[in-house]
Symmetry: C2
Subunit: 379 residues, 2 copies
């Protein structure tokens, strides 16, 4: 009999909450998991079969770690690509592939990829210096994004006028026309090496403007079928063009005129898919494992209305985390608590998430609003 | 703020599949988990924050282990009760309480408890010797059960005639009238220290006669409401009489005349509740944590039809386990694989379970039958 999933070792670069939820699923398949993370207290530390504290951006560390695994995946894009390329050359399976991570790591290259592949996206310009910004043809106000290393709302700012440029990032950036969007949406697509491909139903997101983080996610969307289908087709086209193996989260805008524009990509489990754990037949984490181990993909249909809330550290609270209101929240039917095992909270740190499922969509939203007011991460 | 679930250490006696699935849920609450198990390769080994290889029936080992935890629970009844009593005296929380485990450990005492509390159960007699058996007033054929240490179908035999007694167990036993039952059913009830109590919907079970193990479980039951309600009332009455904190699984028979008779109890997560992970709003594992940490109990309603199949080691296969047909099974919609992390298989060993959910009950059963034929644990 050929090697089976239960015989294989999965190496994961990054040991945060995404790795943690991936391990919760990997347990069901007897997978041996190896984690590399620079934080000695990473959320995955006690859950992996093997935990290594080390840099995920250092060639030697990633290369030597990867040698111990059969399949290597990521839970964050900021990893050493050269080491992954070397591991691929030596026959290791790296999913998503190193070239996909390389492309997505750089938001400038990502944007050019959209352009070359006729993927609808907001007009943009690549800039290297503040001089370039001042000379841009894109009108104020616009969005400025660092090409590399942005995450969780960091590395993105709004430039309202020429004076703002003085305080702009001093790094290779891209300027993007401000999209007058109605809603931010996302579609997660999965693809296995056999080419089998499935999308999760489109979800709607609401952002916390101050933290620039998803605060609220609703699944499934109530947009007309035509828009949902278009969003799914776009996600599938990107996955096919990238020839990716694994999950791909595609964040998009729906403009007020009903246009869909792709914002950005993440080649891994994503915040916009957390509600799939309880709200869909297969979860994004289970699906990612199916995809990278070349197993049949699971049924992505929603089983219920689901609302997901990110549990962010309160402003003005830094220190050992306490979860105020947890008991009240657990008294509500259909509420699922996911704490990420982070000992310390700080303002806007992602400390966990809550999913609410309810057969009545309005009730689910009502519960979510109550929970948002009630549950606080303090120190 | 008072101590929260995320600050507490949960000690679990036993590190098998029940402990494993309990840890999968405990992760969501940042619980620190400590496991004591005699097997160096126990399914929980790599998942607990602290794993100790040691005897769960030895006073000193259990006592010293328990001192390290804030709350102590079990995943198997065969544990050292005296150590738990001592820990309770010293102020540790032991849930289920040691006196409940003591009562349930002995099937004879369990039966007497049923009798004293007017819980319907099959007529029985306690016997100590083969002489007692020969002199019993209970007619052949009858069921002979060891009072202690039976598990997973072991410690139970059918005595057809006086000759069979020569090969009977040589230990304190109980003789039970053979029940001409139509179906075996189960209700899991949970109760927290506040006295809040909830039952999961009644489920129906089908046994593998050869292994004397649950092979097939269907949720929810299609018995008339009146029977389901009666079964739930019986389960609640037992939980109240026991004044138990935690989960209590109540296995019962429905006789051909519609009578309900209690078979036996398990004061912990139980095989008859595995389908709750995907088939109910709250899973039995989540509910057990809620109960023992005195948190509000979750919504026990079924979200869908669910069928659970135990994945038992094939006859004539002993050695490193292989899962034949896994890929075929994963290609079916609504199928959830749970492997228990056991390296070695042997005939009838519980190696995992599969849950099938489907909006159409007949389809779920059909899929389950296909899976039973297709998926085999071999060496």
């Amino acid at each position: 009999m050929a090697k089976q999933i239960s015989d294989l070792k999965l190496g994961i670069l990054g040991g945060g909450q995404l790795g943690r939820m991936l391990i919760q699923e990997a347990i069901n398949y007897n997978l041996t998991t190896l984690i590399l993370d620079p934080d000695t207290d990473a959320p995955c530390k006690h859950l992996a079969n093997y935990f290594e504290c080390g840099s995920i951006t250092d060639f030697d560390t990633v290369y030597n770690f990867g040698k111990k695994a059969d399949i290597i995946t990521i839970e964050i894009e900021k990893v050493n690509i050269e080491a992954l390329e070397q591991l691929e050359k030596e026959g290791k399976l790296v999913y998503p592939q190193s070239r996909v991570i390389r492309l997505i790591q750089d938001k400038g290259v990502q944007k050019q990829f959209f352009k070359e592949n006729n993927i609808p996206t907001a007009p943009f310009q690549l800039v290297n210096t503040k001089e370039d910004m001042r000379n841009s043809y894109i009108p104020f106000p616009y969005i400025l994004k660092q090409r590399k290393d942005g995450y969780d709302g960091k590395g993105v700012m709004k430039i309202n006028n020429i004076e703002d440029i003085d305080n702009a990032f001093d790094a290779p950036c891209l300027i993007e026309e401000l999209v007058d969007f109605e809603k931010e949406i996302a579609v997660i697509v999965s693809r296995n090496p056999n080419g089998e491909m499935k999308t999760f139903p489109m979800v709607e997101m609401e952002f916390n403007a101050e933290a620039n983080l998803v605060e609220f996610l609703i699944s499934p969307s109530t947009y007309p079928e035509s828009i949902q289908e278009r969003a799914e087709v776009i996600a599938k086209n990107i996955a096919t063009s990238l020839n990716i193996t694994g999950l791909l989260a595609v964040e998009m805008f729906v403009t007020k005129t009903g246009e869909i524009l792709v914002n950005e990509l993440a080649p891994r489990p994503h915040n916009s898919g957390h509600q799939t754990i309880e709200g869909n037949y297969v979860s994004q984490f289970n699906q990612h494992l199916r995809a990278i181990f070349n197993l049949p993909l699971g049924d992505t249909r929603a089983t219920n209305n689901a609302v997901m809330i990110n549990l962010l550290g309160e402003k003005n609270h830094t220190g050992v985390a306490k979860y105020k209101g947890l008991e009240k929240v657990m008294a509500i039917d259909g509420v699922y608590v996911h704490l990420y095992g982070k000992k310390y909270t700080k303002p806007f740190r992602k400390m966990g998430h809550i999913t609410i499922v309810d057969q009545n969509r309005e009730k689910a939203i009502e519960k979510a609003n109550y929970i948002k007011e009630t549950l606080k991460v303090i120190s």
